[in-house]
């Protein structure tokens, strides 16, 4: 059995088969519009980089998701500033693309809505998702919900999500763990990195962790 230690409310993944080749790091809300309105963004960016390097080094995939306002929302007039308008600097993908294998554009806060995300994951055999990103309560949470209903086994990394508010983030993370893990499990990057390192004892992980790959 290979699982990540101390994930809540159960050892993740559910079937005890932590397999980087079936694992995608999904970075949601990867745009200035979301990052600019989120808390703890510098710390979260550093964690995302470390996790991305480890996932890549062990054979996993990095998937970056951007979120645009759907046309129908633009048509209806007055609207919140999020999601960002297409074609604005606020909507450009963040430079996580240095380690991204796939960049997917959704037309809503759910990364699966109006996007090729499901297709990109399925065709690569990726059915375990590690969720991180900016605008946590909106983009990461919506994408988690979409993934969970589709049967993906999801882990949300609590120290790699940048929320709008600490109180709302606490509530959202707590909700994941209700009813035996209604949206999967939550855990920390430290535990995930330790679990990935154990899977590949001979891999040069420390070096990989320090090196940001070039596109």
């Amino acid at each position: 059995m290979n699982t990540v230690d101390r994930t809540d409310p159960y050892p993740w993944p559910y079937d005890g088969r932590l397999d980087p080749r079936r694992t995608a790091l999904v970075v949601a809300g990867a745009q200035p519009a979301w990052r600019g309105r989120s808390l703890h963004v510098d710390a979260v960016a550093a964690v995302i980089d470390r996790v991305a390097a480890a996932v890549r080094a062990t054979g996993g995939q990095i998937v970056v998701v951007t979120h645009l306002a759907p046309t129908v929302v633009l048509d209806r007039g007055p609207r919140p500033a999020l999601p960002p308008l297409p074609g604005t600097p606020e909507a450009d993908p963040l430079d996580i693309a240095g380690v991204a294998d796939v960049v997917v554009a959704a037309v809503g806060m759910d990364g699966f809505f109006g996007s090729t995300l499901d297709h990109e994951l399925r065709r690569r055999g990726l059915d375990r998702l590690v969720l991180v990103g900016y605008g946590y309560e909106a983009t990461v949470e919506c994408t988690l919900r979409g993934a969970n209903d589709r049967g993906y086994e999801c882990l949300t990394l609590v120290d790699a999500v940048a929320p709008f508010g600490d109180d709302t983030a606490a509530g959202a993370l707590s909700s994941i763990t209700m009813s035996g893990g209604i949206f999967g499990a939550i855990g920390t990057s430290t535990e995930l990195l330790a679990a990935l390192a154990l899977l590949q004892p001979h891999a040069d992980l420390p070096n990989a962790l320090q090196t940001r790959e070039q596109p």
Partner: protein, 228 residues
């Protein structure tokens, strides 16, 4: 307030008021015995049923008013086929791990299985002839259902949400509706969760960033707006 516009947070709802009964639907999410009835799924997990039942009475009042105004009424039910062929293996595993396995026999029949007593909507807000019912295998009411098609065909552009639980099925459906361009209002006293803190956080999330998923209001404000 302007007539037929709801005093809501963070903006008067709907943004393009007044409320038009021909374009508005009341959505009642998962008012099933399994989620708010004695012996059902939530009860068997050991949660406090009064939290998920709290919204029943105000929801019944709103349902009555919406029916009188001729709104479209939509009920949803979460449940799986009797052979569980539409239940993802991780969802099944998680439920069994806490001894409330989907498909297991409980006091209300097989848990979360279509056609069982626990899957039925409780009598307080039960559907009447002509109202739409959406059967869904997941938390969201749009995934793997014909809800979007039904709403578009009926010309519905505005959705008022009630139901359980706030942070799970109600939030998922409201988020999906918002992505699809529907103008959404969640009635704060017509919904509940298995944890009070999570209920409160879920309500607050709707109001962030100028109403990132729509707006919230107590049902009294809606009833005032439509003169009910």
């Amino acid at each position: 307030m302007t007539e037929r516009v709801v005093d809501a947070n963070p903006y008067p709802w709907p943004y393009d008021g007044p409320i038009d009964p021909a374009r508005t639907a009341l959505v009642l999410i998962d008012w099933q015995v399994d989620f708010c009835g004695p012996g059902g799924y939530v009860d068997s997990m050991g949660y406090d049923l009064s939290l998920t039942r709290a919204g029943l009475e105000p929801t019944a009042r709103v349902l009555d008013a919406a029916r009188n105004e001729g709104w479209t009424i939509i009920h949803t039910r979460e449940g799986h086929r009797p052979d569980l062929s539409d239940c993802p293996p991780n969802k099944l595993w998680r439920s069994k791990r806490i001894n409330a396995g989907i498909g297991d026999v409980s006091a209300c029949g097989r848990i979360l299985v279509r056609g069982e007593p626990g899957w039925e909507i409780v009598p307080e807000v039960a559907p009447i002839d002509g109202e739409l019912i959406i059967d869904k295998p997941g938390k969201g009411s749009f995934y793997a259902t014909d809800l979007d098609l039904l709403l578009r065909t009926a010309g519905i552009t505005h959705l008022v949400f009630t139901g359980i639980t706030t942070d799970v099925c109600v939030h998922t459906t409201m988020r999906d509706a918002n992505d699809r361009g529907y103008e959404c209002l969640l009635l704060t006293d017509c919904t509940g969760a298995t944890d009070k803190g999570n209920y409160e956080a879920a309500l607050k999330m709707v109001t962030m960033q100028g109403g990132v998923f729509g707006a919230i209001a107590p049902s009294e404000h809606l009833l005032q707006a439509i003169g009910a």
